[in-house]
């Protein structure tokens, strides 16, 4: 990478302001086109047949009667998506999840799909597909799945990460371990030890827009996919791999996105839509219903976590240990490993050990959910930290400040930290008026810290200057949180022109080089870096044009405040030329003026947050109300502060829902009981107070403007902050998320007994 990404302190003109977002008018007037808003001539309607069994062998599938339905143009099963994964277990899991091959692994697992001229024909055909199942015993609960008598989901899974590798198959797919020092020695030095077990239930990302796409395969081997996604280049590669297409011949266009939060980093139905289109030789539109979204896409892990922390009387933590069991659905993954890495990342510990166990169960395949795996680990650790502070008799903020990680600390997951923001967020919390405000009757206050890694990735951007001096930037990272606004501000800053002169668009896969997804809080971090680079390249072109126009050497032309200037006294009488002046002469000075950039944006910088919340609990019903909530987080540099605040508030709102109400509820038969927003309750506006935010700006040394990702960390502390607040309100330690009214009431009743 030739681009110098090192941070350079400088005053800003555009960055840090709060202009209106360019996509706002389309969104509030209904003009914005989401996944289901695209249509093609001759388009068919697709519907998917899903298993009602949690675990069953597919003995046979007969589609003949469905194919005979008038209006049906194609029926596909796993045989229409042959295994082209070449031994890649992760890609095979994606394929098997899209359409079951030998076994269905969860309630909602796709087994066949139909494309027909209308919905009625498609639905009628689904009912005529005959699947002969041999029902197998299932396991849903994370702890039950690890017991010796649990039904084994996959006879080929032998726990990895254990020496020697076991000789009998298991539902524990992998064991990972992190830490340093000697926890036995550390616990022996402790004056106080708290040890507790916690559980969290499975939740869904809850994006308002269901998965939707239109697929069109042509007989010449080309194809198009219009889809709601967080990463159209990644979707292109995965779909091409699964269907045996050449990547460059599959053009993927991302729609506007009605929420993703990690759930749209993963293909679910898109390969099936492409297979239907290929078989029918017609475009196919596939929209998942809300029920399908819950049953067969998304969710995060359910977890079971044991934590033990010891400390001296003066508040110094001497040892910390955690064992984290995370469900990953029916396929092995790395969710527990992420939990094990993040669990103690906020603290400076001499002796720490974490063990992550990946557990396969008969639930949907787990996908990333905003700082994946970190919120559950933080819930368990921050609850224990709170309890330990109380046991020692120390203020919970002071206890955390005393043990907070700082520059030079060896993190619990290995590396030594550079400059980080956990200490400043804690100091800001301690000084925040919320922390000292009086509490009302039946109210409790809780606080918690959270950590997330953040990352960058491959990024490519085009910047084109039109003849009138206005600018378009074409980027390849989907705008999930206002990045078109922030990237326009970045381009305006670098070029020295007005924000209003810039139009940012998301280019499709045929128009731009490869881009990684918008995940890992990387959208603004990475693409702003590429935009700065592209703008600087365009400035270099403009300097060359001005040197030609002024007939002076290139080195005598410099760029400042959005204008080309002549250097020194020799040419000093020339009036500076603006972008508009230079663009007007482009045709005769070399043609179009553009800047291009392709780079890897690494060095994203880790992120920390501290949250404070007040909860009011009705002791008679167990119902609770968030009375006040404050988010304090380091943004490095807030490019568009309103959207940074929006990310802080959005993460907190999702975390509050997760903490108080949301959970997948399964029946004894292994079927999901609440696949809809009536029975799976996410918070609505009337459930929440205004969430206060405080942005800290500790520059990231690895970004020219000091930017850090801000999209994910804000969901990490809420589970713990809420649980601590409820525990303090009712006087009983709440160790099972969600702390829903029935659980609070049960805890209160148990305490009475």
């Amino acid at each position: 990478m030739s681009f110098d990404a090192a941070y350079q302190s400088k005053p800003f003109n555009s960055v840090g302001t709060r202009p209106l977002r360019p996509d706002g008018v389309d969104k509030v007037t209904g003009r914005a086109r989401y996944g289901a808003d695209f249509n093609m001539p001759g388009q068919l309607v697709a519907r998917v047949l899903r298993s009602a069994h949690a675990h069953a062998k597919i003995k046979s599938i007969d589609t003949s009667r469905a194919e005979a339905v008038k209006g049906v143009k194609a029926v596909v099963t796993a045989t229409d998506l042959p295994d082209l994964t070449d031994g890649d277990p992760a890609l095979f899991a994606v394929l098997d999840n899209c359409i079951a091959r030998e076994k269905v692994m969860y309630d909602g697992h796709a087994v066949a799909a139909v494309a027909a001229i209308d919905e009625n024909a498609a639905k009628a055909a689904l009912q005529l597909i005959e699947v002969d199942y041999e029902i197998l015993p299932h396991v849903i609960d994370v702890d039950a799945a690890t017991l010796p008598d649990a039904p084994v989901l996959n006879e080929a899974i032998f726990t990895q990460g254990v020496e020697p590798t076991p000789t009998t198959p298991s539902n524990v797919a992998n064991r990972s371990e992190f830490g340093h020092g000697d926890v036995k020695v550390g616990f022996a030095q402790a004056d106080f030890v708290v040890e507790r077990s916690y559980k969290t239930e499975q939740t869904h990302q809850g994006y308002i827009e269901p998965h939707a796409c239109v697929a069109s395969c042509n007989p010449d081997g080309t194809a198009e996919l219009w889809v709601c996604t967080q990463g159209h280049f990644v979707y292109r590669q995965i779909c091409a791999d699964l269907l045996g297409l050449e990547a460059s011949k599959l053009r993927v266009t991302p729609s506007e996105i009605g929420g993703g939060f990690g759930g749209k980093t993963h293909v679910w139905a898109e390969p099936v839509a492409l297979a239907l289109s290929r078989k029918a030789n017609r475009p196919v539109k596939l929209i998942m219903s809300r029920e399908e979204v819950f049953r067969a896409s998304g969710p995060t892990s359910a977890t079971s976590i044991d934590v033990k922390i010891g400390a001296k009387q003066d508040g110094t933590i001497t040892a910390a240990e955690a064992t984290l069991r995370y469900t990953s659905g029916p396929y092995a993954d790395m969710w527990a490993e992420l939990g094990a890495m993040t669990s103690f990342a906020c603290y400076d510990l001499m002796n720490v050990k974490t063990v992550g166990l990946e557990v396969v169960v008969n639930r949907p395949k787990v996908a990333a959910y905003r700082a994946p795996s970190a919120p559950m680990a933080a819930f368990a650790v921050e609850s224990t930290i709170d309890e330990l502070a109380q046991k020692i008799g120390m203020d919970s903020v002071d206890f955390r400040i005393k043990n907070a990680a700082s520059e030079g600390t060896q993190s619990s997951y290995g590396p030594v930290y550079g400059p980080i923001g956990i200490g400043p967020t804690l100091e800001a919390a301690k000084a925040h008026p919320h922390m000292s405000a009086a509490l009302g009757e039946n109210q409790g206050r809780g606080m918690a810290c959270g950590f997330w890694f953040n990352f960058g990735g491959q990024t490519c951007t085009d910047l084109n200057i039109s003849a009138d001096g206005t600018v378009t930037i074409a980027v390849g990272t989907v705008d999930v949180g206002g990045s078109r606004a922030s990237l326009s501000l970045i381009a305006a800053e670098e070029l020295g022109i007005s924000y209003d002169c810039i139009k940012a668009v998301i280019a499709d896969t045929s128009m731009l080089g490869y881009n990684d997804m918008t995940d890992g809080s990387r959208g603004t971090f990475s693409t702003s870096m590429a935009t700065i680079s592209a703008a600087r390249n365009a400035i270099e072109v403009m300097r060359q044009r001005v040197a030609l126009m002024w007939e002076i050497p290139l080195e005598d032309v410099y760029w400042e405040d959005g204008h080309a200037h002549a250097a020194g006294t020799k040419h000093g009488n020339r009036a500076p030329l603006s972008v508009k002046d230079i663009a007007a002469e482009a045709a005769n000075t070399g043609g179009p003026i553009a800047g291009h950039s392709e780079l890897v944006a690494d060095g994203a910088g880790v992120s920390f947050a501290t949250h404070i919340c007040d909860i009011e609990v009705d002791p008679e019903t167990g119902s609770s109300r968030v009375a006040r909530y404050t988010v304090i987080q380091d943004a490095g540099k807030a490019v568009h502060p309103s959207y940074v605040e929006g990310q802080y508030q959005g993460g907190a709102a999702q975390g509050i829902g997760w903490a108080l109400n949301e959970e997948y509820i399964y029946g004894e038969d292994g079927r999901l009981q609440n696949p809809g927003f009536l029975d799976y309750r996410i918070p609505v506006c009337s459930d929440l107070p205004m969430i206060d935010t405080q942005i800290l700006e500790i520059p990231n040394p690895n970004h020219p403007y000091g930017v850090r990702g801000v999209g994910e960390t804000s969901i990490v502390p809420p589970l713990a902050a809420i649980a601590n607040a409820v525990s303090n309100a009712v006087g009983v330690r709440m160790a099972h998320i969600p702390v829903s009214p029935p659980r609070i009431l049960a805890a209160l009743n148990d305490a009475k007994d």
């Binding site: 990302q205 790395m334 990735g457 990387r522 994910e712």
Partner: protein, 81 residues
């Protein structure tokens, strides 16, 4: 010469060593030499590995030069939301 720490899942592929000594100027050279010494690492290095250099995690940019005395760890590539 750097002491490179391997995550637990890699150790069986590298003679069960937790730390491996490697002389390298860039991440690219480091990974190439590791792969030459331990061919079993080839699979993970192609797509599963991130490299932490003095606490900064690199997932893609193998052109990064390695500062003298740098703390280097091989980690799993992270997933994000």
């Amino acid at each position: 010469m750097f002491d490179v720490t391997l995550w637990a899942g890699l150790r069986p592929l590298a003679d069960n060593q937790k730390v491996v000594r490697v002389q390298a100027r860039t991440i690219w050279e480091l990974l190439r030499k590791l792969e030459e010494r331990y061919p079993g690492l080839a699979g993970p290095i192609k797509g599963e590995v991130a490299v932490s250099v003095n606490g900064v995690i690199y997932r893609n940019d193998w052109s990064q030069k390695l500062p003298e005395g740098a703390e280097i760890m091989l980690m799993r590539r992270l997933a994000g939301g």
